[in-house]
């Protein structure tokens, strides 16, 4: 019978971290104080293992209004318009309970965006699972997609795109990342500041219950193992209806200029929503926990401070506006409570049933958070993996390979997923899910925003730096082919256990690759999220950084390119460097059952930039553009053929090679002049067959495989 470990350890805190709490306070922490430090200093909230390396990202550009650090990044779109973008992971909660985990992930990312003053106009989902032959993974995919649909559709924000990938590595640890875009007029921008002394803290929205107690520090910052079931009671349940009312109420507060600042309650709940805004404003705050409206009785101070009950916001309001704020909350039928007052000096004083339960320097929760420079080392297995020979395709008929690819659930149509999402609400979705980037018009202007989100764990496994860079170029190109110029990047860095030097190395290399590509394209990183400890029973996932690129089309193309606009007689051309033939990390390598291996083709920054700019320009005058990614030219051309319901005859070298920054153009001969140093004619549209280098497959058969790749496994 061994004695239970000390409380701070149970809360996920190391002894050294505990000692620095004692140093800060000059005494032992009270229970509530310990709870606050433990959640705020968790990996999830403090980024203690990653902060040092995230500084590498380029974050500046004239159009950046708010960079990393706030709830969402904000860029200037001109004419008084701003866009807010943020991405967030909900990997561990989605493994524990796929529906609620994904749903609350959507709720959280929405709050990050409307906390800034913006109206959320679109969502994207980035989801990764183990292979679908395992029923558990079908259950997870089903649950996650229903959860995103159940929350996103009901809250009334369209989900207009995303990405899905399957790999055995995600078997015990699926990835669920969600991204949200919002727009606003400049005057509506709000920051997460508590304002000046005298300002009143008003808690809006859901009653506080014991949801996700310890979630921040336990769920999101500890690895999975057989006992993860034990952590289950802290599952949170999302309420999109409450969130919808909260959105409308908050937007009215911003319109009427009634708030000094706003902070959403996510991980670390009240601890974060009091200390962070106070810290940012260099003030203190008196908070009375007895004022907090609760769902359950008898909640302790630590529970109230750590609760992750969803759909709550903290508004900071000047005294004269409090009544009006409470009236607006009433109108929208949400609960509200005045819970605190901003004070001079930096002390955060929290009382509960008349007793002081916490008295700490507000800023210390954020500013004094531990910062680790964890050892990193290139994995010793990497050379073996990179020296694996690529598959020899000469043994296969191209058309048969194409069939196998089209039937792959990650390459086949995502209809089964995105038709469960409302992707049309607000009538802005000019180009929705199912092509490259999504294109959203901004009503009352000639502008449109394009967004694409991309990841590729297999590539990053072989070379995290090249992989990271290629993600940025791919997303940028996905945006460019809709006619939008890339403006900014958000990233979600999903990695294994940072205490392992190889994982830290993968992390640092990915950040380097993403940074280099951003610098080449001249686009800043305006926000992101880090998810470590994606491992099960000691096995780490493939390093899976995910990026989202936001682009602006101003003006929007009158008649933007679409996959469905190819016609009889149009020529198919490839723009970009001639393919090297490398199949390292490619879809073909995967669907042939070959182990992931080889050396991925490095991007060429100068060419990438030229290709991206050329795509933006072409998008205003051609019928079809499509970026080349999974499955190479062959799959990209087939996607056009299927969407346009017309055959295509392809004559090209290495049709399955996935080399970076290349795209396809379809146009009638002689209608567009293409610089021949980066353009190759690779085919012509016509007939009812897809023919690759002489090997053919009927169009309707291809379409059938493509459309049923997911349904035939899921239904």
């Amino acid at each position: 019978m061994t004695a239970a470990p000390p409380v701070h350890q149970q809360l996920g805190m190391t002894d050294t971290e505990y000692d620095s709490v004692i140093d800060i306070l000059g005494r032992d922490p009270r229970p509530a104080e310990l709870a606050m430090y433990s959640v705020m200093w968790s990996e999830h909230c403090s980024y203690k293992s990653s902060r040092k390396h995230l500084r590498r990202f380029p974050t500046e550009a004239p159009w950046v209004v708010v960079g990393p650090g706030e709830n969402a990044g904000v860029v200037d779109l001109g004419d008084g318009w701003l866009a807010a973008l943020r991405i967030e992971s909900h990997n561990h909660p989605s493994f524990v309970e796929p529906y609620q985990g994904a749903a609350t992930g959507v709720g959280g990312i929405l709050r990050d965006v409307f906390t800034m003053g913006a109206r959320p106009i679109a969502l994207w989902d980035q989801i990764r699972f183990g292979n679908l032959d395992n029923p558990k993974n079908r259950y997870l995919l089903n649950g996650v997609v229903s959860g995103i649909a159940g929350y996103g559709n009901a809250v009334g924000v369209p989900t207009v795109g995303g990405e899905i990938e399957f790999d055995r590595g995600y078997d015990g640890n699926p990835l669920v990342n969600v991204m949200c875009l919002g727009i606003m007029q400049r005057e509506q921008l709000v920051l997460g500041t508590a304002g000046t002394p005298g300002t009143i803290a008003v808690l809006l929205g859901n009653a506080t219950g014991r949801d996700g107690i310890g979630g921040a520090s336990v769920l999101a910052s500890a690895s999975f193992d057989e006992e993860s079931g034990a952590k289950r009671p802290s599952v949170q349940v999302g309420d999109p209806f409450e969130e919808k009312k909260l959105i409308e109420a908050c937007l009215e507060l911003y319109d009427k200029n009634l708030v000094v600042g706003v902070q959403d309650l996510g991980a670390a709940g009240l601890s974060c929503a009091t200390s962070e805004p106070a810290g940012r404003a260099g003030v203190g705050m008196d908070v009375d926990l007895d004022r907090v409206h609760t769902r359950e009785s008898g909640m302790t101070a630590p529970e109230l401070l750590m609760s992750e009950s969803q759909e709550r916001m903290m508004a900071f309001v000047s005294p004269e506006n409090v009544t009006e704020v409470l009236e607006i909350a009433d109108h929208w039928e949400i609960d509200s409570a005045v819970v605190g007052t901003v004070r001079d000096g930096g002390t955060l004083t929290i009382t509960h049933s008349g007793e002081v339960v916490a008295e700490i320097p507000a800023a210390s929760l954020a500013d004094n958070a531990p910062l680790y420079d964890r050892p990193s080392a290139r994995p010793d297995w990497l050379d073996d993996v990179r020296s694996r020979p690529g598959p020899d395709l000469t043994a296969y008929e191209p058309a048969r390979l194409l069939e196998t690819l089209l039937d792959d659930p990650a390459i086949g149509s995502s209809e089964w997923i995105h038709e469960q999402y409302d992707h049309m609400l607000f009538l802005n979705t000019v180009i929705g899910p199912g092509s490259d980037g999504s294109l959203l018009r901004i009503r009352g202007t000639d502008k449109a925003l394009a967004v694409s989100t991309d990841g590729n764990g297999r590539l990053c496994y072989l070379d995290p730096r090249i992989g990271g860079a290629r993600l940025v170029y791919e997303a940028a190109l996905n945006v460019a082919v809709t006619g939008a110029r890339p403006l900014a990047v958000v990233d979600n860095l999903n990695f294994g256990n940072p205490k392992k030097p190889e994982v830290m190395w993968q992390f640092i290399e990915s950040v380097e690759g993403i940074s280099q590509a951003c610098e080449a394209l001249g686009i800043p990183v305006i926000g992101g999220n880090v998810s470590f400890y994606n491992e099960t029973d000691g096995v780490d996932i493939n390093p899976t950084p995910v990026v989202g690129v936001l682009g602006l089309a101003d003006p929007m193309p009158m008649n933007p390119p679409r996959l469905s606009r190819a016609e009889e007689g149009m020529e198919l051309c490839m723009v970009g460097p001639a393919p090297s033939g490398s199949l390292a990390g490619s879809a073909v390598q995967r669907v042939l059952g070959k182990r992931n291996g080889g050396v991925p083709t490095a991007p060429d920054p100068a060419t990438a930039v030229r290709v991206v700019e050329f795509a933006v320009e072409l998008a205003h005058r051609v019928a079809v553009l499509h970026d080349i990614s999974d499955g190479g030219l062959a799959v990209a051309a087939t996607e056009i053929a299927i969407a346009s319901e017309i055959g295509v005859t392809i004559e090209a070298e290495h049709p399955f090679c996935e080399d970076p920054h290349r795209f396809l153009v379809a146009a009638h001969p002689g209608t567009v002049d293409l610089p021949d140093d980066i353009v190759l004619k690779v085919g012509v549209f016509g007939g009812k067959e897809i023919s690759i280098n002489g090997s053919t497959i009927p169009l309707d058969h291809a379409a059938d495989l493509y459309k049923n790749a997911l349904p035939r496994r899921m239904d």
């Binding site: 309970e97 014991r210 289950r232 009671p233 599952v235 349940v237 309420d239 209806f241 009950s309 039928e333």
Partner: protein
């Protein structure tokens, strides 16, 4: 045999639907409603007549599909 399985949501798990319904009942003038929780019940008809066996089968069904152990507990009742 007829079997009924009732799922009851764990007390600590939020029930937004119940909360919304409570609000609605209050708006309709039913002020004495202290709380509302919404749960699910399955009515199964199963071939066979060995109660023990069927109980075992249904328990399996609950663990594998019907109940979500994260959110709810289940109760099996063999009706006849």
């Amino acid at each position: 045999m007829k079997v009924r399985v009732e799922l009851t949501r764990r007390p600590e798990i939020a029930d937004p639907q119940g909360t919304t319904i409570k609000r609605a009942l209050e708006d309709l003038g039913f002020k004495d409603v202290a709380s509302v929780r919404v749960d699910k019940v399955f009515h199964l008809e199963i071939e066979g007549d060995d109660p023990q066996l069927i109980h075992r089968q249904v328990t399996e069904m609950c663990l594998q599909l019907l109940a979500n152990p994260v959110l709810e507990d289940f109760e099996i009742e063999i009706e006849r």
